[in-house]
Symmetry: C2
Subunit: 319 residues, 2 copies
Amino acid sequence: MATIKDVAKLAKVSISTASYALNNQPNVHPDTRKRILEAAETLHYTPHFSARNLKTKKTGNIGVFIYGFSGPIFSDVLEGIRQYLQDNGYNIIVSSGRASTTLLLERQVDGAIIFDSNITDDVLRTYAKNGSPIIVLDRYLTSDNIFSSVIDNEGLVKDFMSVILKKGYQKCAYLSGPEDSFNNNHRYVGFKDALHEAGIKDHLYYKGDFTVQSGYDIGKVVAIGENRPDFVYCANDESAIGFARALKEEGLRIPDDVAIAGFDNIQMVDFIHPKLTTIGIDHFMWGKHVADTIVNIIDHGTKDRLNQPEGRIYWRESC
Amino acid sequence: MATIKDVAKLAKVSISTASYALNNQPNVHPDTRKRILEAAETLHYTPHFSARNLKTKKTGNIGVFIYGFSGPIFSDVLEGIRQYLQDNGYNIIVSSGRASTTLLLERQVDGAIIFDSNITDDVLRTYAKNGSPIIVLDRYLTSDNIFSSVIDNEGLVKDFMSVILKKGYQKCAYLSGPEDSFNNNHRYVGFKDALHEAGIKDHLYYKGDFTVQSGYDIGKVVAIGENRPDFVYCANDESAIGFARALKEEGLRIPDDVAIAGFDNIQMVDFIHPKLTTIGIDHFMWGKHVADTIVNIIDHGTKDRLNQPEGRIYWRESC
DNA sequence: TTGTAAGCGTTATCAG
DNA sequence: CTGATAACGCTTACAA
């Protein structure tokens, strides 16, 4: 692997002059610059990341740490982040599991966007203390270098449920996600708030885990059970899809026998029958906004608050 | 940020002794080791990645470079890779776009798994020349440090189509993916081979792009067109799902009026109606195998050939 | 305009 | 068992 030393030697200049030329510094004679650049070219020179980083303290990397690689919701956020970063001279590094913490602690990134509730607040605080900014997307947590932008789960679901109740649905059920999920819990609060405000005391509750399979399994037992709701709010689209499938297999009509709705507006909801009414976030724009913010913090030291991502109801056929 | 120097000072030893202790080297007195470890603890010491890497030439990172963050197929491969690496002391770093090439060239990874046809063979060869192993999953390419493991698209689709033809379907169509896609092209070859062997000269061809939307759009025009096939093989499940949806909306019955099948066996195919017959790869195991291989190459210099991922037909209701 | 040299935080060689 | 010290590849005062 060619080093800057090799380039300097080939171009017959000192290492520092080579460095200046390679970094587009002004004070170097056009001719020497040309020679240096050519030498670098013929040697296929690429600067060594660690060596540069050791001096400059800059990695050029932004980490995005997610809790798993599955789930259609991530992809849009990631793509938004990726596009923005690519256009602004940063690399995106996404990781999951223990690797994330390592990347943070060892300073392989200049900043991080967190979408992984397994990374503890403590680790984040430790890292942020060293001056590197962090944006959390999955919890409320702010401090000197920690910023947060979370979905308004509560408000969105509450508003939606208010409309649903006005439509006359009475016997409502909530199909949950994992009970330690930030999103699930806030959606449930919104759900209950709306019922409370409408003076409805009771509701049914099914414990799911955000997967199609869990929705399906629960749907099967609900369909044949006696205490059937006329509306069930599913904590995400995937479980709603499974739930709907089970109901249909058992001969129930949606929305006539039981109406349903979900959260996320994943692509698939437009291709099932009946098309699913749901609440959607503009994930792509959210990703861009978040990336924009972290780059500005790093490059210019700005400390603006982040916006909440935009969300709205997509009315379709399922209720 | 605490450095090893700080740790040494606090423990009242030299830097080198601190280094030995921190790296579990044998020749250090239990008592001093204890003091050093405690000092590291209280200072929240974490070794600096770049400094260590500069000396050792080891990053502990494996890069996985994908062409985009969308698509349900990736997630399982990634999860398989991630789990294996996590259990074997490596970090997974996934990236996409220009960032990938940067990570490669700047040696921020000890090896790379490529799932991105936008990275040219040349870049891969340049990198591999420096001794770092590469595994390509999306093309045939081998050289000294480049290994490849690709799906047997051709064989799988051909075998499948042979069965289909034996079932009596006559007028077959192929709904393609992007025409520069490795997977699409090999699947198409398999499709044509089977027809050829069965003595069938003609087939219909629809140009898609692997998305649900494209399948849907094409389905709409095929459904009302006159020259309707009785079987259409879709290059992937997502386009098959869109295609099926369109047919149903136009009042056609699957598989009676037209039978369909796909490729990938994504989770959703089990939750649409009718359930989709498809060809599936064990992506998770594939990921593990690939990760296992690259770790062995790096750690032990082994140069075994990779296995093809396992694939099989999942017969369901759509044909 | 170019060169010399210090230093970033580690590891590893060599003495002690 | 422990401690100086060189070296990894690069950037950046400072000197020439």
